[in-house]
């Protein structure tokens, strides 16, 4: 008996094959949740980062508080607050806002979006702050207005600098999304938990979920590599 036979004897790969359609649905759910929250989160983060950099304390301070809270607490706690906490204050069957929070999917979407927006705000803020003074002075010298300077100079160069850090945030968000299963959402981890508890095969169920996450992670990292290659070309050593 060689090693392969030993493995096949203990690993029940048929459980995975039989449940592939369910895993596929979970994959779609995970990608959808993470993608939508990342897009909305990024759209929120740019204006928030500008406010966060404002010299006016009353503008900067609330944004600081927001990022401080969402970066200072676990995503799971935020999800519980929104999912179970909302039910305590509003009647989920009476109003349209209740109908929104009744759905576990939207609760997770809100939690994930607020969370990623907080991290992304800080990433972009840092990148904007690092804009070389010379570039801004040059823009002024050309007679660009504040908004022109912002759109033409500060934002593009900040995005470039933020790219590697933002890649990390996307990967973290993907991994963080694994907690969606806790509130009855059938994402990759949710599916794995059903397979695990129905067929009593923890190893098979979770190793396959892990492989799916790994595949997504590689895809993300690869995509960002392409972007960096294109947009950070000026930082590459000449060959």
């Amino acid at each position: 008996m060689d090693f392969k036979e030993v493995i096949l004897q203990y690993v029940d790969y048929k459980v995975i094959l039989d449940n592939l359609p369910m895993y596929f649905d979970g994959l779609v759910m995970t990608v959808q949740l993470v993608f939508i929250s990342l897009v909305i989160g990024l759209c929120m983060a740019v204006p928030l980062a500008v406010l966060r950099l404002s010299k006016n304390r009353w503008v900067a301070w609330p944004v600081w508080l927001y990022t401080y809270f969402f970066r200072g607490t676990p995503l799971l706690v935020q999800l519980f607050l929104i999912y179970y906490g909302m039910g305590q204050f509003i009647d989920l069957n009476a109003s349209s806002i209740g109908a929104f929070f009744k759905d576990a999917y939207y609760c997770a979407l809100v939690a994930f979006t607020l969370n990623t927006a907080a991290y992304t705000t800080e990433i972009i803020r840092g990148a904007m702050k690092e804009t070389p003074r010379g570039e801004i002075e040059a823009a002024k010298a050309y007679g660009m207005s504040y908004f022109q300077t912002f759109y033409r100079i500060i934002l593009p160069s900040a995005f470039r600098r933020a790219l590697p850090a933002y890649c990390n945030e996307v990967v973290f968000m993907l991994h963080g999304s694994a907690i969606a299963g806790v509130v009855t959402i059938m994402d990759i981890t949710g599916v794995a938990r059903v397979v695990y508890s129905r067929f009593y095969t923890p190893f098979e169920a979770f190793i396959f979920a892990g492989l799916l996450y790994m595949m997504l992670t590689f895809l993300i990292v690869w995509a960002f590599k392409q972007l960096e290659h294109r947009w950070l070309a000026h930082l590459r050593p000449r060959s």
């Binding site: 008996m1 060689d2 090693f3 030993v6 179970y84 909302m86 039910g87 305590q88 009647d91 989920l92 069957n93 209740g98 009744k102 576990a104 806790v182 009855t184 938990r193 059903v194 695990y196 508890s197 129905r198 009593y200 095969t201 923890p202």
Partner: protein, 256 residues
């Protein structure tokens, strides 16, 4: 290298398969299924299952160690030897029997639906169409609901019965399906439970709900199974079972 690994595996298997004298029995319990098992504020697990477990151990003259474990991982943990027996209101079903052995039953109660008082629902594939039903994941209720009404209803699966109660109160669920005793004691009789009611017939089809609630043991431990069976008979005969039962219920939950 391969040979050494194989030898280690074979040795490990044979060593544990050999009969051993049972001095300490580690028992897997749940802790979120009142009144059968619940966790007190100090973190202790208590309830009918735990009292029965202690009585059985006393009768078997062994020391017992309770190991709290989430429901999801009960059988995998038994198989990976985190404990030696499961006393956690587990139904004896054909499916589970493929992985573990069961003792004789130690109680037997049916399951039933719960709805908001006066809600307009009928128990049939048409009447349940589009309704959201909450169950505890990988329980007999989950299996029954999936097989019988899976096409008609949306099933929300929870790790614990308590989480399903929370979502019922929050209004995310139209119905709950579960064992009548935890539903009654853990939900309907608790604060806020008076807006809800049992409805429909009690359900106990043998095909899904098996022969009752038993103690799960690893297949290799036939000796432990015999010990438990003897102990169940003994506490039934000497009145210990009735004494424990009276603490929790005003009727006989052992069934016929």
């Amino acid at each position: 290298m391969k040979k050494i690994m194989m030898m280690v595996v074979v040795f490990a298997l044979s060593a544990t398969a050999a009969a051993k004298e049972w001095k300490t029995v580690r028992i897997g319990v749940e802790g979120a299924y009142p009144p059968f098992s619940y966790t007190t504020e100090s973190g202790e697990v208590k309830g009918f299952d735990i009292d029965i477990a202690n009585a059985l151990c006393q009768s078997m003259k062994v020391k017992c160690k309770m190991v709290p474990q989430d429901w999801d991982g009960m059988i995998p943990s038994l198989l990976s030897r985190k404990f030696d027996a499961i006393i956690a209101s587990m139904s004896i079903t054909e499916e589970r029997k493929q992985k573990v052995d069961f003792t004789d039953k130690y109680y037997h109660t049916p399951v039933r639906f719960v709805r908001k008082k006066g809600a307009d629902i009928a128990i049939s594939p048409e009447g349940l169409k589009g309704k959201v039903v909450g169950v505890q994941r990988s329980t007999t209720s989950d299996r029954y609901l999936t097989d019988v009404y899976g096409e008609a209803v949306t099933i929300k699966r929870y790790s614990t019965q308590d989480e399903a109660y929370l979502d019922m109160k929050a209004g995310r669920l139209d119905l709950l399906l579960g064992d009548i005793i935890p539903l009654s004691d853990g939900f309907l009789k608790k604060e806020g439970g008076d807006n809800y009611e049992f409805f429909g017939p009690t359900i106990s089809d043998q095909k899904w709900f098996g022969e009752g609630i038993g103690i799960a043991i690893r297949k290799q431990n036939k000796d432990l199974k015999d010990l438990f069976n003897k102990a169940i008979k003994q506490i039934r005969a000497d009145g210990t079972y009735d004494k424990i039962q009276k603490r929790y219920f005003d009727f006989d939950i052992y069934g016929q």
